[in-house]
C-alpha cells in the first residue's frame, strides 16, 4: 500500500525466478523536507534533500549518526511521506540495520519471508529460496535457527530476504554496522560481488566512509541535524576494488573532508 504522493509501480505477478528478479527502476528524491514532532520537541530530520539513483546504480549515503539517513530510506520505501518535496521511486525493499530474523523460523524460512508475505505457498517459497542460500554460502544451514548463525551469516540471510522481495530497488540501512570489523570487511566484499552478479538500484546509507567509497558508484555526503546533502563524490574506480587502492584511499579522504573531518 503506497503512501500518497509516492508513485509506485505495481508488480503484477511476483517474480520468483532469479533471472526475472531484475526489473528496471530508479529513485528520484527532490527537495525533500521532513520534520518530526514528538514529546521531546521538534526534530528537523531532512532539509532540502535531493537524491537520484538511476536503474542499476549504487548510491551510498554517508553521514554521522542521527543525520536522517534512515528517514531518507523510509521515504524511498514509501513508509513515510515528505513534508515538502517529492519522492518517486520504483518499488523498494528495505534491509534493516539489525537483521530482525524471526527466531522461530529456520534460515530458509527467514530468507523466504518476503515471498510468504506476498502469499506464496510455503513449499513454493522454500523451493525458490533454497538455491539462493547455497549461492550465498549458507549451504547446510538451511534448517538452522538464527541463534545458531554467526553475525555475518545472519546478515546474509537478511539481505537475501530483502533481495527475494523481488523489488527493483534495495534500501540498505547500515547493513553491516552491527558486525565486528573483520566480518564487516568480508561482508563488504561479499555484497560488492553479489551486486555485480545481481544488479539492483541500491541506496545504501552508512556512517562508514570506506564502505561508502568501496561499494558506491556515487557517494552522497550528508551533514547532521538537519540532514542535508553537503557533497557528492563520484566513484569511477574499476571493480573489484581494494581498500588499499590509491584511488579508493584518495576518495575516502575527499569524503572525509566533505564531512568536515580534517587531519
Amino acid at each position: 500500500m503506497p503512501a500518497e504522493g509516492v508513485s509506485h509501480v505495481v508488480i503484477e505477478a511476483p517474480p520468483i525466478e532469479p533471472s526475472q528478479l531484475h526489473a528496471p527502476g530508479g529513485v528520484r528524491v527532490e527537495h525533500v523536507d521532513r520534520t518530526f514532532t514528538g514529546r521531546t520537541g521538534t526534530v528537523h530530520a531532512l532539509a532540502d534533500v535531493s537524491l537520484r539513483a538511476e536503474t542499476g546504480e549504487i548510491v551510498t549515503v554517508v553521514g554521522p549518526s542521527g543525520c536522517g539517513k534512515s528517514t531518507l530510506l523510509e521515504l524511498i520505501c514509501g513508509l513515510q511521506r515528505p513534508d515538502a518535496g517529492t519522492v518517486r521511486s520504483a518499488p523498494a525493499a528495505l534491509m534493516p540495520q539489525r537483521d530482525l530474523l524471526l527466531p522461530w523460523l529456520t534460515a530458509l524460512d527467514n530468507a523466504a519471508l518476503a515471498l510468504r508475505a506476498r502469499g506464496i505457498k510455503r513449499d513454493e517459497a522454500r523451493a525458490a529460496a533454497a538455491p539462493w542460500l547455497e549461492r550465498f554460502g549458507l549451504h547446510g544451514f538451511e534448517q538452522a535457527r538464527p541463534a545458531e548463525l554467526s553475525g555475518g551469516m545472519r546478515q546474509r540471510v537478511s539481505f537475501l530476504r530483502s533481495l527475494l522481495a523481488g523489488k527493483p530497488v534495495l534500501a540498505l540501512d547500515e547493513p553491516f554496522a552491527a558486525l565486528d570489523a573483520i566480518t564487516r570487511a568480508e561482508m563488504q566484499g561479499w555484497l560488492a560481488r553479489v551486486l555485480a552478479s545481481e544488479p539492483r538500484t541500491v541506496v545504501l546509507v552508512t556512517h562508514d566512509v570506506e564502505e561508502a567509497v568501496l561499494l558506491g558508484d556515487r557517494v552522497l555526503v550528508m551533514s547532521g541535524r538537519p540532514g542535508r546533502i553537503v557533497g557528492e563524490v563520484p566513484v569511477a574506480a574499476a571493480r573489484p576494488r581494494r581498500r588499499t587502492d590509491a584511488e579508493i584511499v584518495g576518495l575516502r579522504e575527499r569524503v572525509l573532508r566533505a564531512l568536515g573531518v580534517s587531519r
Binding site: M1, E74, C77, G78, L79, A92, A93, L94, P96, R98, L100, L102, P103, W104, L113, A114, R116, A117, R118, G119, R145, A147, S162, A165, K167, A171
Partner: protein, 256 residues
Amino acid sequence: MRRALSLWRAVVVLAALLGAWELYVDLGGATALILPPPHAVAQSLYDDRALLWSSFLVTAREVVLGILVASAVALALAAVMHFFASLRRAFYPLMVASQTIPIPVLAPVLILWWGFGIGPKLVVVALVSFFPIVVTTLAGFSAVDDELIKLMRTFDATRRRVFWMIELPAALPSVFTGAKIAVVVAVIGAVFAEQAGANAGLGYLFEQSIPQLLTARAYAAVVVMSVFAIALFALLTLAERLTVPWAYRPIGDLAG
C-alpha cells in the same frame, strides 16, 4: 532432568516445615482436631483416596474447561483489542474493573442465577483466569519490533499476514506466561465457586469436612488442590518448552 533434581532444596525446606508442624502438634501446641499433624493428613490422603479422587475429577473438569474457555476468550479479546485501538480503550478499563469484583461476592450471585451445575463454576474460573492471559498477550502483540512491521510492509504484506506471520508467533511466549499465572488462580477460583454452592468437588469436600471435624480430610483436599495446580503449571512449562523453544529461558519454571 538436572533442573528437576535441583528441586531438592525446596524438598528440604518442605520437609523441615512439615517436621516443625508435626512437632508443634505433638508438643501440644494445638489439638489434632484443630490442627491435624502431617501424618494424619497423609493417612487421610490414603484412607479417603476414593472420595478425594472423585472430588478431584469434578474440580479438575471445572478448572480445565474454565481455562480453555478463558484462553479462547482471552486470545480473541487480545487480538481484537490489538487491531482496534478504539475497542481497546472501550474494553480495557471494563476488563480491569471485572477483576476488582471479589469472587466470594460474585460466586453466590452466579449460583443463585444459574444453579448448582458446572456453568457458574466455569464462569468464575474463566473470569479469574482470562485476565492475566489478555494482559500478557496484548503486551506480547505490542512488543513486536516496529522495524519488523515496516520491513513486512515493504514486502507488501497485508495487515492480516503481519498478524499471522509475525505478531501471533511473537506473542506466543507471552500467552504462556499469562496461562501459567492463570492456571494457579483458576484452581483458587474453582474452590471459591464450589464453596458458594456445589454438591461435589474439592472445595465442596473441604467445606463439608470442617463442620464434621474431619480436619485431616479438609487438609488432604487442600493438598490435592495444590498438587493439581503445580502439575498444571509444570505441564504448561513443558508445553512452552516444546512449542516456543526459541523463547524458552529456564526462569519461571518449577525449579525457579
